[in-house]
Subunit: 359 residues, 4 copies
């Protein structure tokens, strides 16, 4: 249960980290959309391990194989199945933690809930599962671009205590992809990279914040009262491994303002209704208002560290655990395409839902 | 669309602020649960307007009428319908804003999305809709208490820049209800009350933070990978009007820690697996681990203020709007039972889903 | 659970036969549709008890009260709540069967499933619950008429062994409503009425068949592979109390044909693709093809009879039960608007779903 | 849309007939169930083409590959992915009908709905899609057997006008599998086989009826009012290609009885509540009562025939179509495991849903 996301554009992901493969089924993709495997691959490459010196050194091509739903280069309106085979799954690396619950991992809770778990590399709880999200998100992103000219960009805005500058111009993917940490501020980016390298050297890990901006989201997306756009965005973002917080618009900082400071006053701009400020973050009453949608997401430091830690085993003994294996000292650079994917999936789902309901 | 919440314990709310009534249907409440109208009323009274000098002075008894699903004092397993009639709905108060979009309200987005809106008091976007959530939440809360001895408490931890102390003991509802702002720190509470009164005098409004703690949540709730417990909590909380942010466990602050500082090391406590720290906030890998579940939610300052604001009307003119009507200068004290309700609804839904799936 | 129907146009019904009221919430009705209480009432009057000498003599006005979702005569896009208060609920009539399971009723299975039941008049299992369906169906029917000029007619085609003639012309509601049994063949209708009266005199009951024809259904409705149009129609129809069978197009009789006899050959009619025959019943591969959609539904004889029957009580004793109370000796005349409602609900749901998905 | 079935035990099927592969994802399978690929294969072999002289001669091994969700021979509680690669997909066989709509096939409606279709072998509308259903059904069947000792058997009860005898004893899979037409009456079976061979020789096809009996279904399954057990069974069965009718219990024939003849009177049998007759077909008020659940399903004659037929092409011309390719002259023998699968999927879904809701 719980492996399906969306109502109109539904994705189902499957697969364990060290099983045969991982994948995704999309049910509800409109027909007649041109999609190539390359477009999907481009986003998978941004997520894949081993892509830089600050990511895990597991070597996976993460090659997407489309096995249904596309015919002569176009979507059929039938389920799209995408499979990525696991090729560098070294289950042996995990033998030593077969019976041990790694602190702040899902080992204990999976065992407690299901009474069984695939202990190799985190099994289903591994972020490897997000491959399916990114593949589906690439399709969602393309449709949103075609339909509304919407652009969705996430980027790293803080690693540990190193913050990016704030951006007032419209970001581009070139800026974001210009460095391996995916922060469009090159000076901060360099500091971040060094901090991550230093954390790895210490056998430790770092967290931080991923910001997102959605440019040219159509007006009218969001289904109050429960499926408000920000509510579904929050769910999508919080379902990403290691995410601990979500903000829309002014977020927590906005609570220090008074109403008269916080309210976004309307004006007319070339016949369009716009707001002077955007503390609402592009959403009012659960529905997009046409301004940029702005989101922040907090990611905790990676739970897997190389330091020795106290923990317990499945037999109820207190034990010492020494980290091993190949891991990311900081997940944020690779989380960027995952955040973009979840946002894209929420938006396309709401776009299709809205289109069905209008009069 | 979007007016149904939950998968196993499904609630549907209905009603506009100045329509005839508001209400809720619960589909999926287990049979044989003893429920009285009084138990539901107790929580509705904590939410209702006019309850104190710092809330809106609209006078509504908010009297719950149960019209189905309960027989001889017990739930039947059939849909429970609860209706609250609107008695003090002064639509006239809103005549002056019939054609005007109030800044940071849902007026514009509802009009843009639906092409029509009930302009009286916010219609469906009014927090009056949350009556149904609180009524359903009272039932959810009772079942959780009976099943697992779970307690769910929310409280105001900050108003504007006035913070409550941090609590290390187990909170009680008596403490929380001991003052009208619902902050268990009496010294901070008094300052908060004064700040709210002062904001009202200035025709302005304040925001802040509601914290929540869930004591004795059962281990094993949450359905990875998308319906992780924190993801559904985030959705539930962000679906509350005026909410702009959500944190679980260490949240945004936790991103300043390293992995070795942040990880919650396990130990054995009387045969139970526990963690020394609780940065995870009671959830690991999307599944509850038996520790307290801790949540923060940011609420923006109320959009309705008595100051003059610039805005536009539905004819595309830029106009000046002067606030009128009866409003809360700060929604947080009344948001407390709503937050508790949403948390209760998420937990009962996951408890019933989990029970269906176990082997 | 199980009280919500539809995915895009979702209805939730609530209420027990002898509780305070019954009702329905519609979530997903498009905004801006003009609806009056009278339009809803017209269909409720066709379903209501006491409408003729061959229906139950329970006296209920079945007056629909719209409590949300409609403003200035138009739908808002928010949930529409419709309530019908029970006014002639004589719970006392059922005292004698409080502890006894009526044969072929839901008494035993409700008790077994839920451990509790409202024994007054069948509680939730009463066909009184279908009031909500008919009210929602009236709205669905109106939208389908506006959108596509679709007409949905059901009628009684057989009572016991008395069959109506077969109709080759397009039926009208005037024909169907021209007699109290709702059979457009006046000669058969008279025989049917007499048979029902005679069954009532004998304390017995009759079943039969309701046929339906959907004229001008749009091409393209239905979502293979599971939500095929005929699959959702079958579910909708089989969810009506007392229904035991469903056919689409040639149904069971078609199995006596060979493929070359059964296939519906295509031809071009004024530029439109049509079929010479319609054994498919307007649906091919789960998707409507623009031909008339034809459905048959079997309804068993009413379980409540005035004869003495052997049964058991809740204490495990074998007992004799003598029927009492006010009942329909044949449900089919009143089932006609219910069948139309379920068909309308399925069609509008698929129309909105399809509209959301097209490219 | 529409490729997901179930609420608690959800399956998603994917794949086109002449694409790379077909498959299924199961979301909601309880953990800790022992499943082998062989158990799944056994049912796939009963469905696969080329299994006998009366089925299509397409040669597919239909070998199931489990790529996730099972670990050390047990289910993990995570999604189970099963893939079957298409190996004998001769798309060339279909070149001649690329632009032509085969009568009573889904060619036209798919083209009309989606604006595009995979014209090779029916694409998504091919019964090849049901491989995923049968694979998932095999798992469902096993769990039902383990949990409740439930047995689910379907068999061919009529081909064209050749009927099987009626069975009063409890059927076994050995009887059903004792001949290639899957009719437990050996005399009728031989006639049926000859009729099918003769139809093939004539380039024609036959339909008929598949009966099903569910032995030892637990009491209490079914979620009124919409998700009644018979309603979900009807949907499941009608979603199978070529199905045109559904009956539960007495079905259409029962409408010729009076209430006093049709009612199933209760008695006590060794402390259990039983009924003397079973016109209800094991379901009352939408909930199973512990008696055998009995279902009939009508399957039309295969649309693909070798005779020349009149039809139209995608350019709007009336054309003549001569059938070619490898096809079943009668789908019923291969439909038997598909019917069993759909019934199993409905039952397991309701069993898990019920377990979640009870008090």
């Amino acid at each position: 249960m719980g492996n399906i996301f969306g109502q109109a554009f539904k994705i189902t992901t499957w697969g364990e980290s060290h099983g045969d493969a991982v994948g995704v089924i999309i049910d509800g993709c409109p027909p007649g959309i041109e999609i190539t495997a390359e477009e999907i691959q481009a986003d998978l490459n941004r997520r894949k391990p081993g892509q830089s010196e600050i990511s895990t050194q597991r070597k996976e091509g993460d090659q997407a194989e489309i096995t249904s739903g596309i015919f002569d280069g176009q979507t059929l309106g039938t389920p799209i199945s995408i499979i990525v085979w696991n090729t560098d799954a070294k289950g042996k690396d995990y033998e030593h933690m077969k019976d041990v619950f790694r602190p702040s991992h899902a080992d204990y809770t999976y065992q407690a809930k299901y009474g069984i778990r695939n202990w190799k590399g985190g099994g289903r709880s591994s972020a490897r599962e997000t491959i399916g999200r990114v593949a589906a998100g690439a399709i969602a992103k393309k449709i949103l671009k075609q339909m509304f000219n919407t652009d969705i960009f996430a980027y790293v805005s803080r690693i540990h205590n190193i913050s990016s500058e704030e951006f007032t111009h419209e970001l581009t993917s070139v800026e974001i992809e210009s460095n391996i940490v995916r922060c469009p501020d090159p000076i901060a980016a360099e500091k971040m990279i060094n901090a991550i390298k230093s954390a790895r050297k210490n056998g430790d890990s770092l967290g931080g914040i991923v910001n997102s901006v959605i440019y040219r989201a159509p007006v009218g997306l969001g289904e109050p009262v429960f499926d408000k756009l920000e509510a579904d965005l929050a769910k999508g973002i919080l379902s990403i491994p290691a995410c601990k917080g979500f903000e829309i618009g002014s977020g927590f900082d906005g609570t220090f303002l008074t109403g008269s400071q916080h309210n976004d006053q309307f004006y007319i701009d070339n016949g369009n209704i716009r707001t002077h400020t955007n503390n609402s973050g592009g959403i009012q009453g659960g529905i997009s208002n046409g301004e940029n949608i702005t989101i922040s997401a907090a990611f905790k430091p990676t739970a897997t560290i190389m330091k020795s830690q106290k923990t317990v085993d499945i037999f109820g003994n207190e034990v010492e655990l020494q980290g091993r294996g190949r891991h990311d000292p900081c997940v944020l650079p690779r989380a960027v395409p995952i955040v973009e994917a979840m946002i894209s999936l929420v938006l396309i789902d709401h776009a299709l839902r809205h289109r069905g309901q209008i009069n």
